[in-house]
């Protein structure tokens, strides 16, 4: 039997507790135990960024984060971007710019964009491109994604 431990953490603003197998990833935990299917498993080795979530204010590949290490931390997933005012400006920008095609990379891309904009709302196009180095999109190409991040940054400074 795999060893399980109990973790308590803040998930999208709510305190939660769950038992986890010590060999699971944070991504397994979010998807299986909390039915949060936004973060995706794609490469499973930190190349693609489809599993990106924000942990203690830092974007992370949740597939490479050991589930037991989530204890005591603050986790934000794409599902947590929703507020009473509606969807996040980054999500709206992705819609407005048509930066979504199949949508598989989108939750990770949006979380990375949110992280980048929170840290620097005045990025150059190159800074945006470098900022999403760890996120792979295999259908739209990156032009519209970069335009969406730029539009969301502009919105956040005006």
């Amino acid at each position: 039997m795999p060893l399980t431990v109990t973790v308590s953490f803040s998930l999208n603003g709510t305190k939660v507790t769950s038992a986890v197998d010590v060999t699971e990833s944070a991504l397994d935990l979010l998807r299986r135990n909390f039915d949060l299917a936004g973060a995706k498993l794609a490469c499973g080795e930190g190349e693609c960024g489809a599993c990106t979530v924000i942990v203690d204010g830092r974007s992370r590949n949740s597939c490479l984060m050991p589930a037991p290490d989530i204890d005591g931390r603050t986790v934000l997933t794409v599902e947590g971007l929703w507020t009473e005012q509606g969807i996040d400006p980054v999500q709206q920008a992705f819609i407005d710019e048509g930066a979504v095609q199949c949508g598989f990379c989108t939750p990770g891309m949006i979380m990375q964009a949110r992280y980048l904009i929170d840290r620097n709302p005045n990025m150059s196009e190159e800074q945006i491109a470098r900022g999403i180095e760890g996120n792979i999109c295999r259908c739209t190409g990156y032009k519209k994604i970069i335009a969406a991040v730029a539009a969301a940054s502009e919105g956040s400074t005006s």
Binding site: L3, R60, P66
Partner: protein, 294 residues
Amino acid sequence: MLPQNKRPAGIDEYVNATSLAMALEALADGNGTPLAGGSDLWLQKDSGNDRIRPRLVNINRVAELHGISQVGQRIRIGALVSVSEILESALLKDAVPLLPATADRFASIQIRNAATIGGNIANASPAADMVLPLIALDAAVKISSWAGKEVDRKIPLTDFFTGPGMTRLERNELITAIEFETPAAGFHAVFCKSGPRPALEISLVAMCLAGTPQNGTLRNPRICFGAVGPTPIRCRSTEKLIDLRPIDDSLIAKALATMQSEISPIDDIRASKWYRAQVARTYLEQELMACRSL
């Protein structure tokens, strides 16, 4: 389902250490694996190798292992400092810009946010980027273990690696910090890295060249290569050859030949031996030539 040649790590005990003493005690019998950022370790957990031992010791909440500090001329980087923290450190930007510059070429932001300096060293990849500038800085690895109390020792980073994934770290030991002297004024250092694309790449070849330019020479040079041998390679004979000699075309030719004899690139999935040797030559030639005009 896992392929048949793979088995999941058999972990039967988990320790969430909250102090250095607690972490070292949990590692003392040699059956523990320290867990830091996880970006390398978690990749290996299903690989069937014995990298993950029965007791998983989470060291992330050990305060003593965090933080970058300076006492006098000596800088200490705690083992749990992330590559992002190195990139963003005002202290390092000011005192050793080589380290943030190297961190900027390291993987992606998400991995930099997870990966720790101690982990990059302990994982002992021949292509570990952060190791090269630290070797060039003559950094020492501080290692601790438990024998009724904390026992510390230090090893020069340049002597730390023994093979791919292999180091002088004993099973009961933990890397606790990296330490080095602030380089004196006039210190020059560059980090070069080649990969298939200019993003999230594992180095095909990486080089760090450092020293103090002085009247067309390079005093006390350091030449370190990554991904061209079983460990990060310090080219001591090449360093000795060029030390304080005028960097003319003849010296560069000799330096390239000597360097070539000190590295041992191989053919693998990422690049050929021939290509790696060519890139190594190009980097050294280009950076030695650049030193002439400094």
